[in-house]
Amino acid sequence: MKVSYFPGCTLKNKAKDLDRYTYRTAEVLGVALEEIEEWQCCGGVFSTAKDEIASKLSSVRALKAAYKKGQPLVTVCSGCHNVIKQTNYVMQNDRDFADKVNRYMAEEDAYNGETDVYNYLELLRDVIGFDKIKEKVVNPLTGKKIGAYYGCLLLRPSTVMKMDDPENPRIIEDLISALGAEPVVYANRNECCGGYIALEDPKSAEKRSLDIIRNAKANGAEMIITACPLCKYNLIKNGADIPVVYFTELLAEAFGVKEENDGE
């Protein structure tokens, strides 16, 4: 199975683990990730300004590239996924906006949100299936108590993201179970880590992050996994005293494709 793949800037720099393990685990599952040629930054944050076109163009280009190949577009970073999925939604549902974008791009064929966008998690659940994942596990993570950390971008706005119940998600918990570990459910798993406010008001971000770590630990988590480079950054920076890793790393470990000297 071949899919278009949008890694995003962070995955080529700070979050190389996320990228590397996505490739390796996809290979185990027989999924060929075809990186979009000359992809550009997703825009970083989805602008809710209705007349804001420029910041959304790079996402549209990525979506269109996948459409031309007739493939779904797979993302893995929560931030990129959020921007690209929301942009696709606007292209589907806002005629005026889509017309403007298409005229601006001045290419022959118009794009109107035809591409299916999956976060890698959704690909694992909806296309491959967690039962298939279970079959591929060679190092079951038995006995590990792992807290899923969703953050905000993966689930919200729920009418657009359509990944899971934003208040009671279970997609990562189900993945953890499939890998043989024990998911720890804790209330703050869908709270914000502080996000970009870490730049302007680090104290606030620290408070948010510590709230999450404390709550996860209080419910028995020995490790936190996430899909978001920014979440991981904030949690570690603000003093996480349990490991915080990408879900792809955990997946690689269970599949037996993680090497000892890996790491940034």
Partner: protein
């Protein structure tokens, strides 16, 4: 040729303010068939009606056009007037020049022009009207009440007291409904059981009332006065006629781990059970999902201990067929599921409960014998947070909540808060609210008392997140008046869940061809003037199946529904509506288009012989309309591709004449 009189009403300034009524009367004078035309200030007044009656006699009128308000308002009035003057009442036509004309236009010339056109259309129709005579049908003098909560109980008692037999169908093993689960009732704080159970006993003892408990309505046929209903009496594996309700079987039943639905799963019951001490009928029921004997044939303990020999593992579901003149829907409500509201951590902590669970926790017959203890560890909660409007007034989150106000939550939350502070003064009680809505006799005074006398801390604002941690529930909310974020480490959180119609209501509405709104509440025939009648004749509404209500309101509506039923049942014959559809069988090709669109199930098919050439006969399938069921909506006349369907009083020719008059 008709001799038509035109009567233009001013309706004070309602019509005359934007319509030149004299000009309308003058213009219509020259229409074909019109022999008399006049205007008057209030045509519906006694003087106005006399004016019509005198004109009928004086000018020998055969038809009448009244240019006035909507026919929904006064058509019946003017039909009676015509009747009193010796005319057939169906020779009256109303031209609505108020709601559809003067009220929506601002300029006199435009309003006048439209009123004239509407008048012309009505005149064109009357020219083709024929006298109609309504048919009659008998009335079965027995009522069916679906649902045995306080609404159904009150309706049944009132109908029975008037001397008519009533059957109550209740899907649970006992009547009593939600009210039986409540502890105290606002605003007087009398105990729910103390006022409800005597009524339940009255129902049991009333010789006009039969209770079909643990039963469901399976099918409904027929029409007002003549419903035929199939009721499924589910097997309870206990012979109701023999069981004395002694409870010996329950004590001995070894299956002790069944979640007790009466206490909302907060404790357990046995596989054979009586829901609560005052149940009516006080008869045991075996739960087939848990009974070892029914599941794998190994047990039979209850048989050994039943002195009455009432246990019957072989009992089967039983079908009962009965005829009814009227049906009352009293299917009630359920609190919505908290699944989609996990920001309040309902699925994560046992100490986040709903208000109905709180009722059971404070009730002497509840899982804690009335002591307010945390479900998780049985400790006394020192800080309690109540969250109102969970899922109510939730327009931004329509996929998980309800847009409407559930109406009862402000009052029961004030009750819970007050009772907690009264019984446990050391407990700190906080209520988060969007608005406090307490209209009702002595309601606002009640809520004020919770604040002023009992020191309940009311905070305007919503809770955004509840984080269970250790043995605390970290509640984060906003105080909109102080404009700040609030954090409370609570021991117990009570969610005032929105209420929604019982799940059984939707399929029932389909069986009854009764209409529902988008929230699955039954719709009333008129929101103000016919609040307890469904638009489907003979179907009445009682209690929360029609919309959120508290107990006083439910009981008054239950009584009102009963009085409507009594009014219907005391008639020997029902006069039908003569404006019903009929099919011209020579033109009908039996295509079923009409049957498919008929919302009342009034159309059926029969095979009929028609003469063919050379003395042969040919059998064809043709549509037949049951005039007693037909409500005259006209959907079939539009659907019929061959023009065989026609509606008396609104014949295709009449409608076309109206259109022609308008387009002329």
């Amino acid at each position: 040729m008709q001799r038509i009189g035109v009567f233009v009403c001013w309706c004070g300034s309602n019509i005359a303010g934007t319509v030149d009524v004299k000009a309308v009367a003058e213009a219509l004078k020259n229409e074909p068939g019109v022999v008399f035309s006049t205007d008057y200030q209030y045509m519906c007044s006694q003087a106005g009606q006399d004016l019509i009656k005198n004109a009928v006699k004086e000018h020998n009128l055969t038809g009448i056009v009244v240019c006035s308000c909507s026919p929904r308002m006064h058509e019946a009035t003017f039909r009676k007037t015509a009747s009193a003057a010796g005319l057939n009442p169906y020779m009256v036509e109303i031209a609505n020049i108020r709601e559809q004309c003067s009220w929506v236009h601002k300029e006199m010339p435009l309003g006048t022009q439209k009123a004239i056109i509407l008048g012309k259309a009505a005149v064109a129709k009357v020219n083709l009207n024929t006298p109609l005579t309504p048919g009659e049908s008998p009335v079965t003098k027995r009522a069916l009440v679906i649902g045995g909560g306080i609404a159904g109980i009150q309706t049944a008692l009132d109908i029975a007291d008037a001397g008519f037999p009533v059957d109550i169908v209740e899907k649970k093993p006992t009547i009593g409904g939600k009210m039986a689960q409540l502890d105290k009732t606002f605003p007087t704080l009398d105990c729910a059981a103390c006022i409800l159970t005597p009524k339940m006993v009255d129902v049991a003892q009333n010789e006009n009332i039969r209770i079909f408990s643990y039963s469901e309505v399976e099918a409904v046929k027929g029409f007002v006065g003549n419903f035929e209903v199939k009721i499924k009496k589910k097997a309870r594996f206990v012979d109701e006629t023999k069981c004395t309700g002694c409870g010996a079987c329950i004590e001995k039943c070894p299956q002790k781990k069944v979640p007790n639905e009466f206490n909302l799963g907060m404790d357990t019951r046995r596989a054979i059970y009586i829901p609560f001490a005052q149940a009516v009928p006080k008869v045991a029921t075996i739960d087939p999902d848990y009974c070892n004997m029914l599941k794998n044939g190994k047990c039979g303990v209850c048989t050994k201990f039943c002195a009455a020999g009432a246990i019957d593992y072989k009992q089967k579901d039983e079908m009962i067929e009965e005829k009814y003149g009227a049906i009352v829907v009293a299917t009630g409500f359920e609190p919505i599921s908290m699944d989609k509201f996990d920001e309040f951590a309902y699925s994560q902590s046992k100490d986040v409960i709903t208000s109905l669970e709180f009722e059971r926790l404070t009730n002497a017959a509840g899982p804690t014998a009335g002591k307010l203890l945390r479900p998780s560890d049985g400790k006394h909660p020192e800080k309690i947070v109540f969250v109102q409007c969970v899922g109510s007034r939730c327009s931004a989150c329509a996929e998980k909540g309800k847009e409407y106000c559930s109406k009862i939550c402000c009052m029961y939350t004030a009750k819970h808060a007050m009772l907690t502070r009264d019984k446990y003064p050391d407990t700190e009680v906080t209520v988060f609210y969007i608005d406090v809505r307490t209209p009702g006799k002595n309601f606002d005074e009640f809520q004020r008392r919770a604040v002023e006398e009992y020191g309940v801390n009311y905070i305007k604002g919503m809770v955004g997140k509840i984080t269970p941690e250790g043995d605390k529930l970290k509640v984060r909310g906003s105080d909109l008046i102080a404009n700040k974020q609030i954090k409370i480490d609570a021991d117990l959180v009570v969610l005032a869940a929105a209420i929604e119609p019982d799940k059984s209501a939707r399929p029932l509405a389909t069986m009854l061809t009764a209409s529902m709104d988008t929230n699955d509440f039954f719709t009333e025939a008129h929101p103000k003037l016919r609040p307890v009648e469904s638009p489907t004749a003979g179907v009445f509404l009682s209690g929360t199946c029609q919309g959120p209500k508290d107990i006083p309101e439910t009981v008054s509506q239950a009584g009102a529904a009963a009085s409507k039923v009594i009014g219907l049942l005391q008639k020997d014959k029902l006069v039908g509506n003569p404006c019903v559809a009929s099919s011209d069988q020579l033109m009908c090709n039996g295509c079923s288009s009409c049957e498919r669109v008929c919302p009342y199930g009034a159309i059926s098919y029969e095979d009929k012989d028609f003469p063919g050439p050379n003395r042969t006969t040919k059998t064809r399938r043709v549509a037949v309309v049951n005039p007693a069921v037909c409500q005259g909506c006209g959907a079939c006349t539009v659907a019929c591709p061959s023009g065989a369907m026609d509606l008396s009083g609104f014949k295709n020719t009449q409608i076309m004449a109206e259109v022609d008059a308008i387009c002329k």
